[in-house]
Symmetry: C2
Subunit: 140 residues, 2 copies
DNA sequence: GTTGGTGCAAAGGATTTGCAAGGTG
DNA sequence: CACCTTGCAAATCCTTTGCACCAAC
């Protein structure tokens, strides 16, 4: 379940794709993020370690890695954010007042998904979009 | 509950703001949309009826009307969309495969909200972000 | 050596801002 | 006639694309 560099390289190689230092740096940055991170943030960080890496390379790489299945993007108030696919079970709960970011557990997400499915046959992916609202502190 | 032009004008006037023809046209366009509509789409449509209206006016007006409480925006896959506040109870279910757009009823939304609240004290606004997934046809 | 990848520069598209002119109350 | 609003143009931001050069396997 845990995607390693070796697995990733195999995956890319089997598709005739290459593992370049830029890709290594980008993947490493997303992995290190332990959560979600925006394309521009990735670009900034990667360029910190490895000056000269172009933003277009970052975008192209993110798109590629998403199509390969290693990464996935989701939407929060400020825009798109990427995370490793392994961590896709996180449902973001963002407080619109204080900005605090909480998460739903996988079980809770499943429960919600079940409810939606029962009434509409719709299989929801609650991880793709964040959920806004007010956290317990701000709602009080 | 139903926001009329008269109400809107009162609201604006009470804040020392003005009801200009541009604002009238923009509000009218969003109202007519009977659902959600993007800023660029509004700009295009308004400019159809009333050539010369600048996109910046559209953006400024949408922001203003949202702060006044008449409109609200939400996020779908393609970006931000505005709708009248009265229609904020729609939870979007968008199929990522066929693009079909369904909705959750108010009761269902409340049920989900209740579940989230019980476990986190988090008061979710499920209308702000769409929910993606697979519709019954595409999930089969 | 092939073929895919990268950097660079330019193009796009959406949204914001400064400012002087214009319109509303 | 104040003061809010608008149009215009320019400036940002973020993201995409074309293309020649470079590098991975």
């Amino acid at each position: 379940m845990e995607a390693s560099y070796a697995d990733l390289m195999d995956e890319l190689r089997s598709r005739g794709l290459r593992m370049t230092p830029q890709r290594r740096a980008i993947v490493s940055e997303v992995m290190r993020a332990k959560g979600h991170i925006s394309p521009t943030a990735i670009a900034r960080k990667v360029q910190g370690d490895m000056p000269g890496v172009n933003a277009s390379t970052v975008y192209r790489t993110l798109t590629l890695l998403e199509s390969v299945g290693v990464l996935q993007h989701s939407h929060v108030e400020t825009g798109a954010e990427y995370h490793r696919t392994d961590e896709a079970h996180h449902v973001h709960l963002t407080c619109r007042n204080c900005g605090q970011d909480d998460e739903l557990s996988l079980e809770e997400a499943r429960k919600l998904q079940g409810l939606i499915r029962r009434h509409h046959g719709f299989v929801a992916d609650l991880t793709h979009f964040a959920i806004t609202g007010l956290c317990s502190d701000c709602a009080a």
